[in-house]
Every structure is written in structure tokens, then in C-alpha cells.
């Protein structure tokens, strides 16, 4: 039976991708941060997931404002890195899992989630930077990937409550599909940051530390906050953190915290990570 083996929450800051692509992870500026990802990488080589379901947001790459879905699920056989303005990142094309994707979509729609289904989807740094953080620069990715894109850039965003519920529905969905895959959930974005307005540069470390703690022990308390609460506390772009709730919802109620890390700054943002094993 398909089963979710755990989940990782991680920032997806473009600069981390550029640093990996440019071979600068060992520099003074970056070494401490990247060293802190090693325990996550070790855990992954131990548990060996087959598929990663990556919850991310698109940043004006594949989704224009002509048609912007709240929740979109990729069902394609492969996904190419998007040209976000710099040309596509020099990374391997991602292999998808159409069977698992379609099966999940069926289950999710049956559970009352109004999914947008994507047969074609170029993926941007929101999805690819976490892959690079977790698996470095392989010749091909060691997992198949299912992208789930969440609207966190145009108000109204889905409520944190709805995000947690989607995660829980994903847990049912993967087990409804016939297979024997070990599945890793990845929730991306955050932590606190604000890229715009007079408050640009906001970092709220107490909030981030609270979030890193509660995401394993008490996700319902995080889901009880409103989107405006997230914007106020974590910044206009820190509200991306609601995507970690989808990851968390897909895990069982009790998880083991394998690792967590926190660094300020990565470019404009606080970069955080949490690794949770399903019990």
C-alpha cells in the first residue's frame, strides 16, 4: 500500500537555488546554512522515498493572472523547469507519476476539493529549489514528483484551515491508489519575509520559532489563525507558510521531529526547515 513516510517543510528562496547551481554552498556566507540541511539529506537517503508530493506556489511563471487556481495538481509524465526571467535553471527535468496524480485527483475531487488539473506545467523555484536543497545536483532526480500549486499571491488565499484539510484529504487520496510507494510530503515557502512595501525586510523570529515548534506538535493551532494573521506576523510573502499545513495535514497526528533548522537571512527571508517522520 502507498504510504506517507514523512514530511519536510522548507523555504524555497531563489538565492538558495542560485547558490547550489553556482557551486557556492561552501562559502563563508552560505556554509552554515547548507550544513544544516545535511541531516535532512541523511534522513532521506535512509528512508528512500519513491515519490515527493511538493506543495508550492508559482511566482508568475506558469500561471498568469488570466486564470489562477486555488489548488492545482499536476498529472503530467514530466515537468520542465520554468524560465522565470533568467532562463530555466540548469537542473534535470522532473519525472512525474501520472497514475498516482490522477488517482489522487479522483479521490480529492470526491472529497470535495475543487482541483484544477494540469497536464502541462513548467515548475519554478518554488518547487525546484527544495529539490536542490534536499538532493543537491543529481544527474536525474531520485524521486518522482507530483506538484501541487497553491495560490498564495492573489487574495483571497485558501484559509489555513482549508490547507490543513487538504493535507488530510491527500493522506486518504494516496492510500486509495493501488501501489507500494513510499511518499514524501514537501511543504515549501516561508518563513517570515516581506518583499514589498515600506515594511520590506520584515523578519519575525519569535513567530517563526513558534511555527517550527507547533507544526509538529499542534498544527491545528496554526490552522486557527487567519490569512491576515499570517500576513501581519510573517509578512506578506511569509504567508506562504500556510502551504506547510498541507504537508503537515498529510502526516499522521503524531510525528517524530527528526530535524529542524533556522537561519536569518537568506536574501530577504528567514530560511527554515523541519523534517518530520510519520509514526
Amino acid at each position: 500500500m502507498n504510504r506517507i513516510i514523512g514530511g519536510i517543510g522548507t523555504s524555497h528562496v531563489p538565492v538558495l537555488g542560485a547558490t547550489i547551481d553556482g557551486g557556492r554552498t561552501e562559502t563563508d556566507e552560505w556554509k552554515a546554512l547548507f550544513d544544516d540541511y545535511v541531516p535532512a539529506q541523511s534522513w532521506l537517503s535512509e528512508v528512500q522515498p519513491d515519490v515527493a508530493i511538493v506543495i508550492y506556489n508559482d511566482h508568475a511563471s506558469a500561471f498568469s493572472l488570466d486564470m489562477l487556481p486555488t489548488f492545482a495538481v499536476g498529472v503530467a509524465a514530466e515537468y520542465k523547469p520554468a524560465d522565470e526571467g533568467w532562463g530555466p535553471r540548469p537542473i534535470p527535468t522532473l519525472k512525474g507519476d501520472p497514475d498516482l496524480s490522477w488517482g489522487m485527483v479522483e479521490s480529492l475531487v470526491e472529497s470535495g476539493f475543487d482541483i484544477t488539473v494540469c497536464q502541462q506545467l513548467d515548475v519554478d523555484h518554488g518547487l525546484t529549489v527544495p529539490l536542490s536543497i534536499l538532493w543537491g545536483q543529481p544527474e536525474s532526480w531520485p524521486v518522482k514528483v507530483i506538484p501541487i500549486a497553491v495560490n498564495v499571491i492573489q487574495y483571497p488565499l485558501p484559509s489555513p484551515q482549508r490547507c490543513l484539510a487538504l493535507g488530510r484529504a491527500i493522506r486518504n487520496a494516496v492510500s486509495s491508489v493501488q501501489g507500494d510507494s513510499k511518499i514524501l510530503m514537501v511543504g515549501t515557502g516561508g518563513m517570515s519575509h516581506q518583499l514589498q512595501g515600506a515594511r520590506a525586510g520584515l523578519i519575525n523570529t519569535p513567530f517563526d520559532r513558534m511555527f517550527l515548534d507547533k507544526i509538529s506538535s499542534d498544527p491545528d493551532s496554526l490552522a486557527a489563525m487567519s490569512v491576515s494573521d499570517y500576513i501581519r506576523e510573517a509578512g506578506s510573502e511569509g504567508a506562504e507558510l500556510i502551504m506547510w499545513l498541507i504537508m503537515r495535514g498529510a502526516l499522521g497526528p503524531n510525528v517524530e521531529k527528526v530535524h529542524s533548522a533556522y537561519h536569518v537571512p537568506a536574501s530577504n527571508t528567514a530560511a527554515g526547515m523541519v523534517v518530520l517522520a510519520d509514526k
Binding site: 508568475a60 511563471s61 498568469s64 493572472l65 523578519i203 536569518v264 530577504n268
Partner: protein
């Protein structure tokens, strides 16, 4: 005569009370539609070249307002946002200019890039 509906009074919205923060909602998405469409077109190398060569004619094809065109020409990022640009869309212009998001953020909060970097290294702006 069709009656108008009013979907929001900014003063009643809790996120409008958050200092120094522009939330990209329906009102802004409507005002910024053409501008954001122009910005996302810069995901193609061909279009980036056209925009670099002649930004004015390029913008004209998308129907930007005079204020929007001026804000783009001045690279006034805050003004673009006030006129309906979404930050991730506006940032496409910065990429063409070879700027990072730190440059854009610094400019929006009125710091020069060295000051902004120093602020971030020191733990960022507090709440």
C-alpha cells in the same frame, strides 16, 4: 441603468491595517491586469530583448495606463505596486535589469542596497 455592486471597503479589511503592506487583492488585480500581463510576458527571452530595446512600444502593446508606464520607466517599484502590479510580476522587470529582489525591496522601503543588506544581516526589520 445597471446598479453598481461594491465588493469591498478598504477601511473594513483587516489586512489594510497592517503597516507598510500592500495586499494584492481583487481591487489591485483589476487595476493591474494589463501591467501584470506585460510583466509575465518577460518570461520569454525574445520578449525580454524587445522590452530592453524599446520599452515604450513594448508597453503600448499591452495597454498600460500613463501612470503605469511612468512607474515602469522610473523603476518605481512601490508605485507599480500601488498601481496594481503584483510583486512577483513586477520583479520580472528587475530581472531584465540584472537586479535582485534585495534591490527591489530596498528601494521600496527607502534604503540603499548596502543599508538594506546590513539590516538583513542584522536580523531584518522587526515587527
Amino acid at each position: 441603468m445597471l446598479k453598481p455592486n461594491v465588493y469591498q471597503e478598504p477601511s473594513k479589511r483587516d489586512y489594510e491595517q497592517i503597516p507598510g503592506t500592500i495586499v494584492f487583492d481583487g481591487r489591485r488585480a483589476t487595476a493591474g491586469y494589463a501591467l501584470n500581463r506585460m510583466c509575465i510576458s518577460l518570461n520569454s527571452e525574445q520578449n525580454r530583448e524587445k522590452f530592453s530595446k524599446d520599452a515604450v512600444s513594448y508597453m503600448n502593446k499591452f495597454g498600460l495606463t500613463v501612470e503605469q508606464r511612468e512607474a515602469v520607466m522610473k523603476r518605481d517599484w512601490l508605485r507599480m505596486l500601488e498601481l496594481g502590479a503584483n510583486i512577483f510580476f513586477a520583479f520580472k522587470i528587475a530581472i531584465v535589469d540584472g537586479l535582485t529582489m534585495q534591490h527591489v525591496a530596498a528601494s521600496m522601503c527607502g534604503l540603499d542596497i548596502a543599508e538594506y543588506k546590513a539590516m538583513m544581516r542584522d536580523g531584518g526589520r522587526g515587527l
